[in-house]
């Protein structure tokens, strides 16, 4: 299994859990579907923490990991990043088919967040 897929699945577990998890807990959840080494999970969590998408907190002599943002927050910030690529700021990151102004889309993102 590719490291990227594994990172995604670990994030999904953390998001779905809704509370900080220890390495062991993440390992248990992932092991239901496949054989996976404990140390691999540890490495992946460490990598995610280095990338800043996971925070590490010490609780009862064990480290617990939690996503630094909820899936919804991170999705919204990624979409905003894609949309705020106004050309005079920086080279366009996103070419989007719709061609709406970043302002209009930012407002739309907010609106769709509120609907949830």
């Amino acid at each position: 299994m590719a490291l990227g897929d594994l990172e995604r699945e670990v994030m999904t577990q953390l998001w779905d859990a809704g509370e900080p998890l220890t390495v062991r807990q993440v390992h248990e959840r992932l092991s239901r579907q496949r054989d996976l080494a404990y140390t691999t999970v540890m490495t992946v969590l460490d990598r995610l923490a280095k990338k800043g998408v996971v925070t590490q907190q010490k609780a009862d002599r064990a480290y617990k990991y939690a996503p630094s943002q909820s899936r919804e927050e991170m999705t919204a910030s990624v979409m905003l990043d894609a949309l705020s690529s106004s050309v005079d700021q920086d080279a366009a990151l996103a070419y989007f088919v719709g061609q709406l102004s970043p302002d209009a889309l930012a407002a739309a993102i907010e609106a769709s967040q509120k609907q949830k």
């Binding site: 991170m74 999705t75 979409m79 920086d90 080279a91 088919v97 719709g98 407002a107």
Partner: protein
């Protein structure tokens, strides 16, 4: 004389021509050639500016019959200014490239983590990522490991054929490395001093690149699905009331219009624009710069 003519050419190319070309409608029928023409206009503008900087001091000192010492200083000064212009352009390009690369790398990392892989197994390309958002959004993240990103909203409002049209459009941006073109124009825009700076090339080239991607997608899946996708994606966005009117609605209309007309790529326009692009680059050099260089080198003081 050479310096004056080059100066006039440079000012025309940076102040007059962009307005004319940005408002013309023929580029809609030959977008790729029009991009080449914009590149040629921009590059020739830079070369003209360098020409003025190099030729003016030499011509003035020659006309005034200044002494060897003065001519030397003038020529060295000219070389320094020319080097500064070139450096400024290169530094701007390096900065834009570095920043957008870092930004894309982070963006790619995040969409990889957020990907709802289970929602698009059957849609296709390996580098497709689906974000869990209701807002319909489709874009690409260029780079060595490119990504095409769709939101769940896109999968909901578009049918399979329309999704293929959107994918074909984004793939074209990636395959043709359109981000490199945009980055070079952005770098140039940022390097130019305020009063001479114009957004027109940036906006025009951005729209032309969209048209090029539209044409490629139309060739692959037909105009109708692409047109429908373009219309639906924007219509599906719930617009808040206090949003400013869409400044690029005009551009979208242009793209829709050319998609509803039957596709007749104009060979004549392509050839004409191509010839103009090459001519613009080559002719001033041959007509103005070479004769001057010939004279100037005769009296080269260094």
């Amino acid at each position: 004389m050479t310096a004056l003519l080059l100066g006039a050419l440079g000012l025309t190319l940076s102040l007059v021509v962009p307005g004319l070309l940005a408002n013309a409608r023929w580029p809609d029928r030959a977008p790729a050639a029009a991009v080449a023409l914009w590149q040629s206009i921009t590059l020739t503008g830079v070369l003209a500016a360098l020409g003025v900087v190099l030729a003016a001091p030499e011509e003035v000192t020659r006309a005034a019959d200044s002494g060897r010492r003065v001519t030397e200083v003038a020529v060295i000064g000219a070389l320094v200014v020319a080097a500064v212009i070139i450096l400024r352009l290169l530094i701007s390009l390096a900065g834009v490239t570095r920043r957008s690369r870092a930004r894309r790398a982070r963006h790619r990392m995040l969409v990889d983590l957020l990907d709802r892989a289970e929602q698009h197994r059957e849609i296709g390309p390996d580098h497709l990522r689906v974000l869990d958002g209701a807002l319909p959004l489709a874009y690409c993240v260029p780079g060595r490991e490119p990504r095409v990103v769709l939101s769940r909203g896109v999968l909901q409002v578009l049918d399979r054929e329309q999704i293929n049209a959107v994918l074909a459009h984004e793939q074209t941006h990636l395959r043709h490395r359109h981000e490199v073109v945009m980055e070079s124009f952005t770098a140039f825009y940022r390097a130019v001093p305020g009063p001479l700076r114009s957004r027109q090339p940036l906006d025009a080239v951005h729209l032309l690149l969209e048209m090029i991607a539209d044409d490629a997608a139309r060739r692959r899946v037909g105009a109708e699905p692409l047109r429908a996708a373009l219309e639906r994606l924007t219509d599906a966005v719930p617009l808040a009331e206090d949003v400013k009117p869409d400044p690029r609605g005009d551009a979208r209309r242009r793209r829709l219009d050319r998609l509803s007309a039957s596709h007749t790529p104009s060979v004549a326009l392509n050839v004409l624009a191509g010839v103009a692009a090459v001519g613009l680059l080559v002719l001033p050099t041959v007509i103005l710069v070479l004769p001057w260089l010939d004279k100037a080198l005769d009296k080269w003081p260094l």
